[in-house]
């Protein structure tokens, strides 16, 4: 069943009336091929795949850094790494995973899918889109190069709290390079966000009202606003550090009347919403996979949309929960504590709605579906430990301990990365015209899930027992559990290697997928599954006009 409908002559929604969209059949269009064609492309699908490729390369490095950390921590008194290099690993693991892996990967899916889902031929500003992507290359390059400068890469944590990140305590150019990398990645995010907002607000096909947009588009719209509001504040904060370091200002230097705690306010004003920036689009991805493989429509679409909006707004009101031990006033602590707990409500709405979505369905356990189901389970664990951390008395105990490390890895690995896996297995046939092997995929899934839980579940325990974060050696009591944790890492590493092999393996096979490779569009009713796999240049011969039914699938 096609969603596309040729509008009756004289209809006001007739696409030919839009000067932007000449009615030329775009099947005839050929994009320049070859490496040069890809490098100079402004096509949203090519850029989307470049983002995803960059994220995959970044994940190899970020994962290797995690491996170095776990090697050092396998037992309590090892000296696999020097303490300075260990701190650099901790800093760069986080920075790479956030700025080069998770955010770009979600931007990759956004670039690829959002224009198709809303019935557009490209993003609103294709050249700006290319600019956003190519900014990430020097950003990653600066981070990589900083390993080879005097003093090595930044080692003040990805949080870069002053005074530790100031010249007196981090002398080499590593921190400066890190700051410039954050500037570039931030600029990439901001320009990308503007592009998404303009695209979604202006380029929806006739008939696609806001409340008919697929949930993934909604999550990206809210996400883009979070990026647009939050990222400039982060850029400002690290710029102040840069000025303090090199230009004699004293924003964060107590001796010059500055205040280190001010930095924390500014940093977390971005970096708490950043958690949602890294997880909201993953919500969108799994929403589509869950509905598709249950053969049902998403449950409570309207509630889901409002929940995403609520999470977006509340996300800006809770940053202080990272600062409960910093000596901020009791009233502020209470406010941030309550607001943080309130976020659990819209998040809960999403969890219950997903469960209601699969309830009564006919579930097909594809690898994509397995990852989507695992997402629910793991994200609930990360959510509940988040509610614990929102409680000031509990947070005062476990703040900056391994409990926090466990918590945010359940959110970011159990949430964002698991969602990315679900999305990759779901949309790979659409993007490439080939299926990823389900057989290898099952091994990827089980190695990932077992490894992930073996790595991060025991961290809750050592955290409660008193093991602090970011430590290079630790008291002997924690050694036994850390053996297990390092062992779990191997499972995740093996899973990652198999996943990359699986992608290369699939790309060597011929394209066999039709428009709707999963056979789901009778229920999903989505534009994505209405066009060929991979979609032709400019996606649609004619701008689709949506019939009255909702197109909330993906």
């Amino acid at each position: 069943m096609s969603l596309l409908e040729t509008p009756p002559p004289g209809s006001s929604a007739q696409p030919s009336k839009r000067p932007d969209f000449p009615e030329t059949p775009h099947k005839a269009v050929r994009l320049p091929g070859g490496i040069l064609g890809i490098l100079s492309s402004t096509d949203h699908k090519v850029l989307g795949m470049l983002y995803l490729g960059l994220a995959l390369i970044g994940a190899v490095f970020g994962g290797a850094f995690a491996g170095a950390i776990r090697a050092q921590l396998t037992s309590h008194d090892l000296e696999v790494l020097s303490p300075e290099f260990y701190n650099a690993m901790v800093t760069m693991h986080a920075s790479v995973m956030i700025f080069v892996v998770i955010i770009p990967a979600l931007a990759g899916f956004g670039n690829y899918l959002v224009p198709i889902m809303i019935g557009a031929r490209d993003m609103a500003f294709p050249r700006l889109n290319a600019f956003s992507f190519w900014l990430l290359i020097p950003a990653g390059g600066l981070m990589a190069a900083s390993f080879f400068v005097q003093g090595g890469a930044a080692a003040a944590g990805w949080t870069a709290y002053p005074p530790l990140s100031l010249k007196e305590y981090s002398g080499g150019p590593g921190v400066d390079m890190w700051i410039l990398a954050v500037h570039l990645a931030g600029l990439s995010s901001i320009t990308g966000a503007i592009n998404f907002i303009v695209t979604v607000m202006n380029m929806r096909a006739p008939g696609m009202s806001l409340m008919k947009m697929p949930l993934f588009v909604w999550t990206w719209l809210v996400n883009a606003w979070l990026i647009l509001i939050g990222t400039p504040v982060l850029s400002g904060a690290v710029t102040m550090v840069l000025l303090d370091r090199g230009f004699g200002t004293g924003f964060f230097k107590p001796a010059l009347g500055g205040d280190p705690v001010l930095y924390q306010h500014l940093f977390w004003f971005y970096s708490h919403p950043a958690v949602y920036i890294m997880v909201l689009p993953a919500f969108g991805l799994i929403s589509h996979a869950l509905a598709a493989f249950s053969r049902k429509r998403i449950f409570g679409y309207t509630g889901m949309v409002w929940a995403v909006c609520a999470i977006g707004v509340l996300g800006f009101l809770v940053w202080g929960h990272h600062m409960f031990t910093a000596g901020i006033s009791p009233e502020l602590r209470l406010w941030f504590s309550f607001m943080t707990m309130v976020i659990a409500v819209p998040t809960g709405v999403k969890i219950w709605s997903w469960l209601a979505t699969i309830w009564g369905g006919t579930i097909r356990f594809t690898v994509s579906m397995k990852f989507a189901l695992a997402f629910i389970s793991l994200f609930v664990i990360g959510g509940i430990s988040g509610v614990w951390l929102a409680n000031v008395p509990i947070d005062l105990q476990v703040h900056d301990s391994y409990f926090v490390v466990a918590h945010f890895h359940y959110v970011l690995v159990g949430g964002a990365v698991t969602g990315l896996f679900a999305g990759t297995y779901f949309y790979f046939p659409k993007m490439s015209g080939r299926f990823l092997s389900e057989k290898i995929g099952n091994a990827v899934f089980w190695l990932f899930i077992l490894g992930m839980n073996l790595t991060f579940l025991p961290m809750h325990l050592v955290g409660v027992q008193g093991m602090a974060r970011r430590i290079w050696q630790y008291r002997e009591e924690f050694a036994a559990i850390n053996h297990l944790i390092s062992f779990g890492y191997l499972g995740m590493a093996a899973s990652g290697a198999l996943f990359i092999y699986s992608i290369i393996d699939a790309l060597r096979k011929p394209k066999t997928c039709g428009n709707d490779p999963w056979g789901i569009n009778d229920v999903q009713k989505s534009l994505v599954w209405d066009i060929p796999s991979p979609p032709p240049p400019y996606n649609f011969d004619k701008i689709p006009v949506l019939k009255g039914t909702a197109s909330t699938g993906g």
């Binding site: 219950w352 709605s353 409680n391 900056d400 008193g466 002997e476 297990l484």
Partner: protein, 254 residues
């Protein structure tokens, strides 16, 4: 062993029990893990511990229930020839229910935290005051009321059953003073004074660790606290060249 099991149960994470047993087996009598669940030794630690258990029980429902429903769906709603998927996709009453109930639960859970925050914020009248200063990479302690005894890079010594109020600051970067058994953690911030208090009920050695990344040897900023009897404490002060002030509340109480 039993104590570690408790921590595991509190984490509501069954798999951990095995890990805890494994870890406990490797433990050394001389180096007990002085965590909040094993041995809370201050009024704050007791309060935080019971509040934590209260929160764990409430949130435990919301941790377990979705997992049960999830596994039920996985077991029950498999695709099979002839099975037709349900077609419902909204239910306003249900959606209002799962929005309102959690809000009520959160209020019930959050309200008791307020008096606890107040208790942590507002120390009772101090029996003695000390100063804690973080410094790359050691802790410095000062006893201004006892002839300004100053020690660094050695265990903090305090008397048992006394309310100790500590003013904390840092000489360089951020550090955080954390002794799990006391139920307290506080950042030491250059240019600022932060405050904690504790009244330790049992003599002994308590261990902690700098919790805020403070540079290359962050991991080596261990904290040790020796809690001793009043007499022993006074002897130690005099041994360090300090004085016991006449009419000091410590002396009166002992």
């Amino acid at each position: 062993m039993k104590l570690n099991w408790k921590a595991g149960a509190i984490s509501a994470l069954g798999v951990l029990a095995a890990a805890a047993a494994y870890a406990g087996a490797g433990g050394d009598a001389d180096s007990p893990i002085t965590n909040l669940f094993n041995e809370p030794v201050t009024p704050i630690a007791h309060t935080v511990r019971s509040y934590w258990i209260f929160v764990a029980l409430i949130t435990g429902v919301f941790l377990i229930l979705p997992q049960i429903i999830l596994f039920w769906c996985i077991a029950k709603f498999k695709d099979a020839p002839g099975r037709k998927p349900a077609t419902f996709h909204e239910n306003i009453k249900l959606e209002i229910f799962w929005t309102v109930i959690p809000i009520l639960v959160l209020v019930v859970m959050a309200v008791p935290s307020y008096p606890i925050i107040k208790k942590i914020e507002n120390p009772p009248p101090a029996d003695m005051r000390i100063e804690i200063i973080g410094r790359q990479f050691l802790w410095e302690y000062r006893y201004p009321e006892f002839g300004d005894v100053r020690i660094s890079d050695e265990p903090l010594v305090i008397p048992v059953d006394k309310t100790v109020v500590a003013d904390c600051t840092s000489a360089d970067v951020l550090h955080a003073w954390w002794v799990p058994a006391f139920g307290v953690k506080i950042d030491t911030v250059p240019g600022r004074l932060t405050q904690i208090w504790f009244n330790v009920e049992e003599q002994g050695w308590y261990k902690g660790q700098c919790a805020e990344l403070c540079g290359s040897l962050h991991s080596q900023m261990y904290i040790d606290v020796r809690v001793v009897s009043q007499e022993e404490f006074e002897e130690w002060i005099i041994d360090r060249g300090g004085t016991i002030p006449a009419g000091n509340s410590l002396a009166q109480n002992s």
